[in-house]
Amino acid sequence: MLKEIKVLKSHGRQYIKDLRKQPVPGLFRGRPVISGDITADEIKSVSSLCPVMAIDNKSGSIDLGKCVFCKECSFLLPAKIRFTNDYRIASNVRETLIIQPDSENPVRLEAEIVRKEIRKLFKNALKLRQVSAGGDNSCELELNATGNVNFDFGRYGIEFVASPRHADGIVITGPISENMSEPLQICYDAIPDPKIIILAGTDAISGGIFEGSPAINRHFIDENHIDLYVPGNPIHPLTFINGVMDLLGIR
């Protein structure tokens, strides 16, 4: 027993008190800021460098739904593009994920278009079923981490459940492999209405580096209304947590 107490003493207090304001350590690659004076030539060079065509070759905007956060554009033009440690980059509007040059504006969720029943029914408890559809296990690990001793998302009644019958929504990771497209649909159909769809990670939002591969099938995304886009490669637990809190209107 004494040894257990020693373990607990070393463990100390690990939980993050304020999930809204927790700073992330080090060189986190979060929301990019593109300088307003980026030239047309510079835009062309970073746009052709980008491995996932996330940079528009005319406007120079960066689409976080496509970005794999490799930061190569910033290494090429450190004075013009920088990645901040702002991890609050989730939104319910796909276009909001496109960061324009000369903008310091944070990515925000548009509260007025959130379906009314979502906030009414799920604000105090949201149970989610996760489906990995070609996910590489990094987003899955980060989603698991949202419930761990550090992040403890369960404090808001938000957690992952085993059965779709018990769930209020689905969280999809991965570009959606052809072989997973049917199980995904079956799982989604088994969730009772009303239900939400969250796309976690760049692969899920746009296919990421796998976009165009014949072995993936993204019909599900095209045919359904997406309630929340959470960019990242993989997503940071705090990006997911803050995105869901914004969606539900938790302060």
């Binding site: 986190f28 956060f69 990995s132 070609g134 899955e140 690990l141 761990n148 072989n179």
Partner: protein, 506 residues
């Protein structure tokens, strides 16, 4: 057969000329494989096929762990009509490779006991084979029942289907059917000509092994392009690889504790894993080390501040992990769930060609860092950890011992790193690969042996790219481990291996 009918290549060295690789008649090929595998120090790293200008070519790599060399040889067939005598009959470790060849090209292997699809790849030979019609093994009996699990599992994990045949609570047989994670990675690695795209693909092969797979890829590119990297960079790559090992091993220990409802162990290990991956993020901005390893150089050279922080975190983690591991591996209620559960014998592991951790827990010395040293491990010998019992306990304890060993390695490496010239190049993306070569790169990731191999054409383009994750070998070990176990012990057996679905499905 005493004659050597193969070319030899050293890991992470010069690639070999395509024309130097002997093309054997199949019966000679068959004997050559048999001859090599008779020696326990040899195991099959990869055996795969490719179709070029109407001919099917098959390459086989067999690693000699005693002499740090890899035997490379091949055979060719004009079409898939010729029925080949299956090597799996005698050498079970080839089962997965022959299955893969059968799935991709329709080649028939006579006598293969289990010629079933591996991953339902998009380019499979027979498209009428669909994932819903997997030919599961069945036993007719009124006493037995079947349990199907997946593809979607209860937890937040990757998809795969497990089909159990049970006698009461006891598992008679488990069949593991994968393929749900197939994204067509190998094909994309050939099609995407941009070298940065290939790096991004490599780090997404298996996100829990981002550093391992990107290192295998970078090493392959460097050997094919003739790029030499500094010792400083080699040291930094080894540090990154060991940090990945520590983080996953501690995370898996948490998961094992979770499965046996030992909450103290679970939460403490979860928190410790967080410290390690946050240190990785401090270094490179990503908790999984994505972006850290690149061919020819690094965007994130280690600096003194980061090195000091890594050492501080490791010292703290090592002490705390020691404290909690001492509890985990001595409490009788936990030991009762770990010991003698999910046993794989040395003989079984040897026969299926198990690699990495799964092999080392069964008394087999198989660690690429030792047998085919790469990067700075060539100058910094690693103490290999092996255990004998091959059960869940051994796979837990192995992680515990490897964490301490990796902490020691990182400490030693940072000491050497401090004396080096700190100059590190930026990554090289505009490389030119040598023509008509075969390059092989193997490394020891936390699961075990990762192999990336490529063949270049007359213009120096990548004609074929082969990825082998250690899970390819080791999934069968899990199936064997649960035989005659209670089905309720399946989750803990599965966790104790923690194999990759996407690494298998590619």
């Amino acid at each position: 057969m005493s004659q050597k009918l193969y070319s030899e290549i050293k890991n992470n060295s010069f690639p070999i000329d395509l024309k130097e690789i002997p093309v054997l008649k199949y019966n000679i090929f068959y004997e050559q494989v048999s001859d090599l595998l008779k020696n326990e120090a040899n195991h099959c790293v990869a055996y795969y096929g490719l179709a070029t200008s109407g001919i099917l070519k098959f390459y086989c790599y067999i690693a000699d762990d005693n002499n740090n060399s890899i035997a490379v040889f091949s055979h060719e067939q004009n079409d898939n009509k010729t029925v080949l005598k299956s090597l799996t009959m005698v050498w079970s470790q080839l089962q997965i490779f022959e299955r893969e060849i059968h799935e991709n090209f329709g080649v028939k292997f006579e006598g293969h006991p289990w010629l079933k699809p591996v991953r339902y790849s998009h380019n499979r030979f027979d498209k009428s084979n669909i994932i819903n019609n997997y030919p599961f093994y069945t036993i007719e009996s009124e006493e037995l029942h079947e349990v199907g699990v997946g593809p979607i599992h209860a937890g937040v994990i990757e998809p795969g289907h497990f089909r159990f045949i049970c006698n009461g609570e006891k598992v008679l047989h488990l069949e593991i059917q994968l393929g749900y994670q197939h994204r067509g990675i190998e094909k994309l690695l050939i099609e995407k000509k941009d070298s940065l795209q290939r790096c991004i693909l490599s780090e997404n092969i298996a996100g829990d092994t981002s550093i391992g797979h990107t290192l295998a890829h970078s090493q392959l590119i460097e050997s094919l392009a003739g790029i030499e990297v500094s010792e400083t960079l080699q040291i930094e790559r080894c540090i990154a690889l060991e940090m990945e090992r520590i983080a996953v091993h501690i995370g898996d220990t948490a998961a094992l504790c979770g499965d046996v409802a030992y909450q103290l162990g679970q939460v403490v290990c979860e928190a410790l894993r967080t410290l390690i991956i946050n240190a990785t993020q401090l270094w490179c901005g990503n908790r999984f080390g994505k972006g850290l390893v690149r061919p020819g150089g690094s965007n994130y050279p280690l600096n003194n501040d980061v090195a000091n922080e890594i050492l501080r975190v490791l010292t703290d983690t090592d002490r705390r992990f020691c404290e909690v591991a001492d509890r985990i591996y001595s409490l009788p209620s936990l030991l009762a769930r770990f010991e003698d559960i999910g046993k794989v014998t040395r003989e079984q592991a040897m026969s299926i060609g198990a690699v990495g951790m799964a092999a080392r827990t069964c008394g087999i010395s198989r660690d690429i860092r030792v047998s085919h040293p790469f990067q700075f491990y060539r100058n910094y010998p690693v103490q290999q950890v092996t255990l004998e019992t091959g059960d869940v306990f051994a796979r837990g304890m192995q992680r515990n011992l490897e964490v301490h060993e990796s902490v020691k390695i990182i400490r030693g490496l940072i000491e050497i790193w401090r004396q080096k010239n700190m100059e590190i190049n930026i990554p090289i993306y505009n490389y030119k690969l040598k023509q008509n070569k075969v390059g092989i790169s193997i490394i020891e990731g936390w699961r075990g042996e990762i192999c990336h191999s490529a063949i270049t054409d007359t213009d120096g383009n990548i004609e074929h790219y082969k990825v082998k994750d250690p899970s390819m070998h080791n999934w069968l070990a899990l199936a064997l481990a649960v035989r005659n176990q209670e089905i309720s012990d399946f989750p803990i057996c599965n966790k104790s291996f923690n194999l990759s679905y996407c690494g298998n499905d590619l």
